[in-house]
């Protein structure tokens, strides 16, 4: 019997008042905290008689350590960091400045370099970074200024009073697999906050709660996502220089799938590489981790990695929907930042700088709210207005229809993209519609049994153990660890659908799209199709792919007990 995690009911919880609670200690949350701290310091210096305190400003981070769940390629556009901390390059952990970029179109055995690097992918002036290390450093700065970061604490649900968000409830600790309190049970705290800021990253769980409760997305395009599966490699020296950036399109994907790879040269002969697959592919048997393994077998990549060693693995989803998929980002007592809102430039494949900028803008609004003691929807709407008149909008406006253009396949996408480039993003109409990714998933009955042209993307990778790896081996290198004795945090509305309909209609794609082997269908003679859904929740790497891609939309990812998750050292 699967017991799913939910906050224990009917108990008294410790109540804690707060001014601002920021859920999520990633680049957006940390930038917000830091900017808020700067504004308070400035105010206090100018108003010695009416000081604002930082004591009631908290950042909640579900990982055991700051940065531990942060994963990205990554390339940092320094624009917003320069606004936040001028001269940050001197102290931030940056691997290298980008020296050269190349974009390749791959076929199975060869590659074509694009003669001109498309403007969005030109990265001169940007930095190759490890997001994990960067956020660790940024978090250190936040703590230095006197703002408290609660690591190991997740936001498990929002607190409401009518239409107002009044706070955040943290996770219950010490609950066993059956949902009963263990001897070390500690109820989650109710943080009653004037302002709740959601910076949970892509497909945030509290953000999802908020959007669903108030139907916030009714006027927006459905958000669409990709999943990035990444490996960090140590390679023999000389293979790739620090700051070298390579993007690929084409193989192993076919025209039916959206996605591509990145290869970034870091320092000390460490290479960051990964494959992003749009979570709107048609064949449910597609396995994004397998796609990465296939990619590595291309002669060009295999040569780069030969003799090297895979040192870390991870995966994370990312929002592709662009400007039209962003819901309202401010309301009565709440604001949404970064990837949770969908501030990502899918043409440049960059979102960290936008996350940081959104954090800064939200901080400015939060500061005003504290001064005026007014965090109503009207007061916080300045954040929405400021985003719409900032360079976030300028940048995202030009690429507002990129991903939607690909709903018709690769060639349609390239055509629309080209058109959008010369029309300031408009293309054939100002707002291209979008469909949620899972709606593209076809039933097995509609697809060739052997997979057809997509066969090489389907099913689990076997791995040779040197260049390519099976999922479990890769997963081991994510360092993911959770308290074992706790309820399953992948909340499935109705497991009967898994065992009866999904097995037949889609062949249980959860086994394929999850990059962490959380979902397994085990033999069970008592089930109508002989199979039963089984979960390995402690394998989870918190990528949210399941919540996004499941064709019945019956999976809700909620944070497991705080402190658990991957260990993305250097990622």
């Amino acid at each position: 019997m699967l017991i799913f995690r939910k906050p224990i009911e009917g108990i008294e919880r410790p109540q804690m008042p707060a001014d601002v609670v920021i859920v999520g200690g990633g680049p957006a949350g940390m930038a917000c905290a830091l900017r808020l701290s700067q504004l308070i310091d400035q105010h206090n210096a100018e108003h010695p008689d009416s000081q604002l305190s930082k004591e009631n400003i908290y950042v909640l981070e579900k990982a055991r350590e700051v940065g531990q769940h942060c994963l990205s390629g990554a390339l940092l556009d320094p624009r917003s960091m320069r606004e936040l901390l001028p001269g940050f390059e001197k102290e931030a952990p940056l691997d290298a400045e980008v020296t050269k970029e190349a974009v390749y179109f791959l076929t199975q055995h060869s590659k074509f370099k694009l003669p001109i690097t498309p403007p969005p992918l030109r990265d001169h002036g940007n930095y190759v970074i490890s997001l994990n290390r960067f956020v660790k450093w940024l978090g250190g700065k936040v703590e230095e200024t006197g703002i408290t970061i609660f690591t190991g604490f997740a936001g498990s649900e929002l607190l409401f009073d009518g239409n107002r968000v009044t706070g955040v409830r943290t996770d219950d600790k010490g609950v066993d697999k059956e949902g009963h309190k263990k001897s070390n049970f500690e109820p989650g705290y109710d943080l009653n906050a004037k302002v709740v800021i959601l910076a949970e990253g892509p497909r945030g769980s509290l953000t999802k709660q908020l959007v669903n409760k108030f139907d916030l997305a009714r006027n927006a395009n459905p958000q669409t996502y990709g999943v990035g599966v990444k490996e960090l490699w140590e390679v023999p020296s000389g293979r790739i220089s620090p700051g070298e950036v390579i993007y690929t399109m084409g193989w192993p994907l076919t025209t039916k799938e959206y996605g591509g790879a990145w290869i970034y040269g870091g320092k000390d002969n460490v290479v960051s590489l990964g494959f992003v697959t749009g979570l709107d592919y048609p064949d449910p048997r597609l396995d994004p981790q397998r796609v990465l393994q296939d990619f590595k077998q291309h002669p060009f990549v295999a040569k780069l990695l030969e003799g090297g060693k895979m040192i870390r693995y991870g995966a994370k989803s990312m929002p592709y929907g662009g400007w039209w998929a962003i819901p309202p980002v401010a309301g009565d007592g709440w604001m949404i930042l970064g990837d949770s809102a969908g501030f990502l430039n899918s043409a440049r494949l960059k979102g960290i700088h936008l996350a940081i900028k959104s954090g800064m803008l939200a901080a400015e609004t939060a500061f005003e709210a504290l001064i005026k003691d007014d965090s109503s929807a009207a007061a916080l709407s300045s954040y929405q207005k400021n985003v719409e008149s900032s360079w976030i909008k300028d940048e995202l406006w030009k690429v507002r229809n990129i991903h939607q253009g690909f709903e018709g396949g690769f060639y349609a996408g390239m055509f629309h993209t080209a058109l959008q480039m010369v029309t300031g993003g408009r293309g054939v109409r100002n707002r291209y519609p979008a469909h949620a990714g899972y709606e593209h998933m076809r039933k097995l009955a509609e697809l060739p049994a052997d997979g057809g042209a997509e066969a090489h993307l389907l099913g689990p990778a076997k791995g040779d153990g040197k260049l390519t790896f099976d999922k479990l081996t890769d997963l081991y290198h994510s360092g993911t660890k959770h308290e074992e004795d706790q309820p399953a945090h992948l909340v499935i509305d109705d497991t009967n659908i898994c065992n009866t309909r999904c097995v037949k209609e889609f062949g249980s794609p959860c086994q394929n799209f999850c990059p962490a082997n959380v979902y397994e269908m085990l033999d069970d003679a008592s089930q109508p199709n002989g199979k039963r859904i089984s979960l390995n929740p402690s394998n989870c790497v918190h990528c949210k792919t399941c919540d996004i891609a499941d064709p019945y939309q019956i999976i809700t990812w909620v944070p497991p007990e705080g402190g658990g998750g991957p260990n993305y050292d250097g990622m």
Binding site: P14, T148, F150, G152, F153, K173, E186, Y189, G465, L472, T473, L475, Y476, K481, E484, N536, S538
Partner: protein
């Protein structure tokens, strides 16, 4: 007359819980800081004998609280008895160690007297005549100052290890022991204690095993584990498993080997129907000799096995067990 601190020491089945010395040490520290008197009390069966032990410490007095109704322990009886003691002796502060037993009765006791408890304290301060207790919040991230603003008696419990038991000072002379016989009406006790639950014999420590027979998914059904157990018994070894077996509850968690279980390095490790995922391998690769049985010739376990048997374990293991038995009998 100075206020009094009353330390309630803990005993179970006639033995003092060692943590009581920590509470005495804490009581002595608070007495020194505030100038209050320190007294102690033992409740329950063998109270007099144990009171004598406590009286060796530097306390002004020890109370032995006795009643046949206090044996065996029930929270109702203890709360009723202590309420009588506290009402009669009127201490300002009642201190206890933060044990399971204390957590069981002190809420009843405090509520019966209309008081709150400051629990799981890790320290205290005495400032400007005010006694401030320190307790942790957010799993130790915050330390909070808490103090009483009610009348006496005050109730506080102290965390294990917050004070050092060996710092409990001995008294210059033995403290006087006063016996208090409490009256507890029958209808006060609502609990009927059953036989005390005895923890199962020491959980198996596979790290000490020299021979381990381990099963994985290939064993197919729970009842088939018996086949592996027979082999383990014949060899004089221990039974273990990879994660899926323990996740299913077919074997207890303490028999799980791997990255989320135990790491072992026995002389001989037999892997039956185990594929050899890296998560399992890291738990047993230090074994001196590894024999693997698996019907999949490409199973990764064979990469680290010293002896690889590609075949059906249901056909291989029973005859193997027989051969082992024969070899052992034959000498």
């Amino acid at each position: 007359m100075a206020d009094t601190i009353l330390v309630v020491v803990e005993q179970r089945e006639g033995k003092l819980n060692r943590v009581s010395w920590e509470t005495i040490a804490a009581g002595q520290a608070i007495a020194a800081a505030t100038g209050w008197n320190l007294e102690a009390t033992v409740v329950g069966g063998s109270a007099s004998t144990l009171a004598a032990e406590v009286a060796a410490k530097k306390v002004a007095k020890v109370y032995a609280v006795e009643s046949p109704k206090l044996e065996p322990y029930t929270p109702d009886a203890f709360a009723a008895a202590l309420k009588q003691v506290v009402t009669t002796k009127q201490p300002k502060l009642v201190m206890m160690p933060h044990t399971y037993q204390v957590r069981d009765f002190v809420p009843k006791l405090a509520t019966a007297m209309g008081r709150a408890v400051i629990s799981d304290c890790i320290g205290f301060r005495h400032e400007n005549g005010k006694l401030i207790f320190t307790r942790q919040m957010f799993q130790g991230k915050f330390a909070a100052d808490v103090s009483f603003n009610s009348d006496a008696p005050w109730f506080a419990t102290f965390q294990n290890g917050a004070f050092r038991g060996d710092k409990a000072e001995a008294g210059a002379s033995v403290a006087p022991v006063e016996t208090i016989n409490v009256e507890i009406a029958d209808n006060v006790i609502r609990n009927k204690p059953q036989e005390v639950f005895k923890e199962a014999k020491q959980a198996v420590d596979l790290t000490q095993a020299e021979i381990i027979v381990s099963v994985g998914r290939g064993i197919k059904e729970q009842k088939n584990i018996e086949i592996a157990k027979q082999l383990a018994d014949a060899l004089g070894g221990d039974l273990a498993a990879s994660r899926p077996i323990c996740d299913n509850g077919w074997l207890p968690m303490d028999r799980q080997i791997g990255s989320s279980g135990q790491t072992v390095a026995p002389k001989l490790y037999l892997a039956l129907g185990i594929s050899g995922a890296i998560q399992h391998i890291v738990g047993m690769k230090g074994a001196r000799t590894i024999i693997a049985v698996n019907k999949d010739s490409e199973a990764p376990i064979f990469e680290i096995a010293d002896y690889a048997i590609v075949g059906n374990l249901f056909e291989i293991v029973p005859p193997l067990t027989e051969e082992v038995k024969k070899a052992k009998a034959g000498g």
